[in-house]
Symmetry: C2
Subunit: 614 residues, 2 copies
């Protein structure tokens, strides 16, 4: 190509108004302090009120430290163990007049990371407000993707050639029998499958087991009207994105088929029809003995690492109610509800007023059942369209994609907001939503529905992160309550009679079917069942931030309890959450497992204390 | 964001050295002539020796016209029927000093297209050398993708709600029974599946049928060492790309699993276990009557359009050889060869010296068979690595992707080279390959192997496009021949004895197994079997360009005969080829079928004459 005109030089000027230059100079100072192993000087680059969130790069943990003191403490550990350095701007920084936002890369002794920093201050007097560092790959163990992808065909001549299908067949025969997996993932839903795909890519011998017959059966077995409540841009799995014809809110059976196809395509070793009965960690041997039954046959597995991916919502909560044994109709936990078809013309009482309760009430009403919802405490409701537009649109939408915010970038942006101040980012969004849907909320309240927006008005995501309950993403059923088409009652259930639900105030609700949409326990309930109550108590509850709001008691943790990070029980891990979390956090869990498999030193900084047992 | 420095203006200057401005001014002249319905003036914008290749946008055909006369003839048709216009640069044009390359968009009465033009000349005296126009979508029938994707969940309340799985189940019950498909695709390999996916997206009721039980079985049933000979970047299907961990050369069973997963994910209506016995077109009714047997049960299908996607290589060619009935060992066409396992220690004669012959010889030799290849005519061999690097690398590779050449862009670039001059682009590449692998070719020739590079030295792609035979992409087995490990004999087969293959020169090759790697007939052989010899003769042979080289007799056609475009038999179409063609050309075939389904007027320009019958 002949260029007859020299393009004007558009390189960054060196003046103080150039955000890229300013950001890189801040990183240079950080690099110099880290090279000098001077944690205090490095910490002096942070604002008095500041946050550094690390995802297994400096800490081999998920940990958020606060303020220069906290940063100094973490860096004292890091300079002598994980040796971070080489912080370098990855793309032009942006200055919104208040905050300089800088994407960067960095290295540690073990690997390479990416991060996002928010810097503030005049000229070159920048100080860091928020910093997020995330390990992306281990040096020498990079994933075989893109230019590193496998060749597939083995060219040349090899009399001992084994084909791909012969190798796969051999693995199927041997894995869990003569060959033990290094990692056993109990639970083969979206979380187990995403983690299994990452471990496969990383070459960690793993096995994912599930009691259902086929991948996706967890979704297939749910009530038939169920669709994802999160939109497609938020829901991709690792490596293989949904095609761009994928519906915004995928129906459950379509997601199920996707999970099944994905498991095949990503070659996730997945056993169906397998129930884990018992697991015990042998301290001396440093591995687990897991007793399972596969298609009716007893199997003993000996993994080194055990991951519980049994559903972040834990075990179904079914309340103990006097008279349950005398009630003559049907009783189901929402997780067992088959859908409305059998209940046309029946009287149904749904206990609870969150997502599942609304979905089930809506489908039952559509089918011609006589439905009453029992609200026991206030619920946060947000219309799906508003959530998409205002709550998620900047990060996960066609609009975000068009603006260059890929799924991967959106995940890191979301992860870069420290949990301690995330509500401050969320409250204004929900103020907008409250305003936008004012009429809707007024009609619901007029119908007697008790609404909330979280104790601090921070809305859906904070409720999800704090307690994973207490909300409904409205896809239409709220109108049935507002219109009185679905009946509404309030209060706790006092007892059941042969044919009715009696509330604390004496109200009797005649019923042929009672659906307990009463939520789930903590994931460590699974640990109590599978391992022991002692181990469950030792690791303590899962999920929650310690925000000291309803169902999320303090003290403050800074991260979600026990999720994707080392627990108080050696070699026991918890994985779960929505598709977004299954996608993003499976990376960090997989890297931690890979590092241990490769016997890379993984000194953990800031192991969380346990405050809340089973 | 506050910008304290104005960015220098980098907009295109208006001088003659700006390729974008020059290209747009050329398009402006074209637009003006088309608006004036002045085909002659428009044709005057073309060089004396020039080409316009149209993919169903102006012609409702695949047609290449040549020189101002040809352009004028096509445009006289187009201005009064398809009304092209609005040609507009889609991204900055590039000038390599000789040719200005310009991507553009345009519109027609029915839809929107993309194209690529190569312009030459000084200043604004540009004339067009090559032009390619390709329809991308029909106005009012845009695919539901991206911002148009379906919502999935049906929000709101609807007592007649049908879930996704209920709809799918109903379709499965009714399609081909109470509901007739508009399009029947016979053959459910990669071609049928890709077309089925596109028709599904476009909302054309379609059914893909195949005699195999499961999607991918066409690959599963082949010899076990088979891997794709084309690299991954060339092989994507529409809508859903292989993940970036996909091997460069996928093993056949992995591709098979992908096709099966893809069929499920894309919701392609696919019947396995279905053999089509007979098809007849009812002129009066304007639709086909197709007799099929599905899982042993007779089914009559009444599609309006019939697509044969039964493998572009057509029916296996098994030569008639005296003595075939007295030979006591096994005889197989290469398509029936199960792989080497049963033949360790056996004497095998493989008739043929192209891809399948080499693959089969290599695998047999590895397993310990005594193998002799019979070369009947010269073969073009190119090492896989050289083909990837020199033949494909600019369009289909990680390097191409990094340079912004997406699969979609590469497909259009490849399609923009007129077939008439494509060999001129190819010859220099194969000169480089010949030089690079000179030692390799010398060793093969020293071993007595007869090599060629095509009659004009244009190598692999031209052989593929002209005759789809006569080559081997070497993945190692050529060394066995060069080393004499696989025996080599020459000439036609004279006859078989009880235990040997006797060649024309009297050489007797003892054999326990004879593999006929003798290629395939033309696709219209399927039409003869399924429809009638008369219809097969009426449409004539498929494939080939009319290059007047071996196995591709003239006269010149300009496009591949009968592929993806209207044939001489109303409502009969042929679809096939490698994964690249299955992906790219399925778009144009699908748009033609969709237009007919929507009763959009589709006046065909330049219907090819038929010169070669069955």
């Amino acid at each position: 190509m002949t260029e007859t005109i020299n393009r004007p030089d558009v390189a960054a000027p060196s003046g103080t108004s150039d955000p890229s230059g300013r950001a890189q100079r801040w990183f240079d100072q950080l690099n110099a302090a880290l090279r000098a192993r001077d944690a205090e000087t490095a910490a002096g680059l942070f604002e008095t009120r500041s946050f550094w969130r690390d995802l297994v790069s400096l800490t081999w943990n998920m940990a958020t430290v606060e303020n220069p003191d906290g940063v100094a403490d973490m860096l004292r550990h890091a300079v002598s163990t994980t040796a971070p350095g080489g912080f370098r701007l990855a793309e032009p920084a942006e200055d919104d007049g208040d905050v300089v936002t800088a994407w960067f890369t960095f290295e540690t002794a073990a690997g390479r990371g990416k991060g996002l920093a928010r810097l503030r201050g005049q000229g070159d007097e920048l100080r860091c407000w928020t910093m997020m560092t995330a390990l992306q790959e281990l040096r020498g163990h990079e994933e075989p993707r893109g230019t590193r992808r496998p060749k597939g065909a083995e060219h040349g001549i090899n009399p001992d050639r084994q084909t791909w299908s012969e190798r796969r067949e051999q693995e199927r025969r041997e894995l869990g029998e003569s060959q033990q997996p290094y990692v056993l993932v109990v639970g083969g839903g979206q979380g187990g499958i995403a983690l299994g795909a990452r471990l496969r890519q990383l070459g960690v011998p793993s096995l994912v087991v599930d009691k259902h017959a086929r991948p996706g059966d967890q979704w297939r077995s749910r009530y038939k009207s169920l669709c994802l409540h999160d939109p497609v841009w938020y829901d991709h799995l690792p490596y293989l994105k949904f095609p761009d014809n994928w519906p915004v809110f995928a129906p459950k059976d379509k997601i199920a088929d996707w999970l099944e196809a994905y498991t095949s395509i990503m070659e996730v070793p997945w056993w169906g029809g397998t129930e884990v009965r018992d697991a015990a960690f042998d301290e001396a041997e440093g591995r687990w003995t897991v007793q399972a039954v596969r298609d009716g046959r007893a199997v003993t597995l000996r993994p080194t690492q055990l991951v519980l991916a049994t559903g972040m919502s834990g075990k179904p909560n079914v309340p103990e109610i006097p008279g349950m044994e005398v009630f003559a109709g049907e009783q189901q936990h929402s997780s067992e509800h088959p859908g409305p078809d059998a209940y046309a013309g029946k009287r149904v009482v749904v206990i609870g007023s969150n997502n599942s309760a609304f979905d089930i009430c809506g489908a039952l009403w559509e089918t011609g059942a006589d439905v009453t919802m029992v609200q026991r405490s206030s619920t946060h409701i947000v219309k799906s369209d508003s959530l998409m537009e205002i709550g998620l649109g900047d990060l996960y939408s066609e609009r975000a994609l068009a603006a260059g915010v890929t799924t991967e970038k959106a995940d890191l942006i979301f992860a870069s907001i420290p949990y301690r101040i995330m509500h401050e980012f969320q409250i204004p969004l929900y103020d907008r939503i409250r305003e936008k849907d004012r009429d809707f909320y007024q009609r619901l309240e007029a119908a007697g529905f008790q609404l909330d927006f979280g104790e601090d008005g921070s809305g859906l995501f904070m409720k999800y992160l704090r307690r994973a309950s207490g909300y409904y993403i409205d896809v239409g059923a709220a109108e049935l309550v507002a219109d009185g088409k679905v009946g509404l009652a309030h209060g706790e259930v006092s007892h059941l009679t042969e044919d009715s639900v009696v509330l604390a105030d004496g109200t009797a609700l005649p019923a042929d079917l009672i659906v307990y949409a009463t939520g789930y326990g903590s994931m460590n309930g699974w640990a109590a069942d599978l391992i022991s109550p002692e181990v469950a108590d030792r690791v303590g509850k899962c999920w929650g931030l310690g925000s000291d709001t309803a169902k999320d008691p303090g003290p403050w943790e800074g991260e979600q309890r026990n999720m994707w990070k080392p627990t108080a029980q050696e070699a026991l891990w918890f994985h779960g959450g929505n598709l977004h979390q299954s996608r993003h956090y499976s990376l960090y869990l997989a890297l931690q497992l890979k590092a241990r498999y490769e016997q890379i030193d993984t000194p953990v900084y800031g192991q969380a204390e346990v405050h809340h047992t089973g």
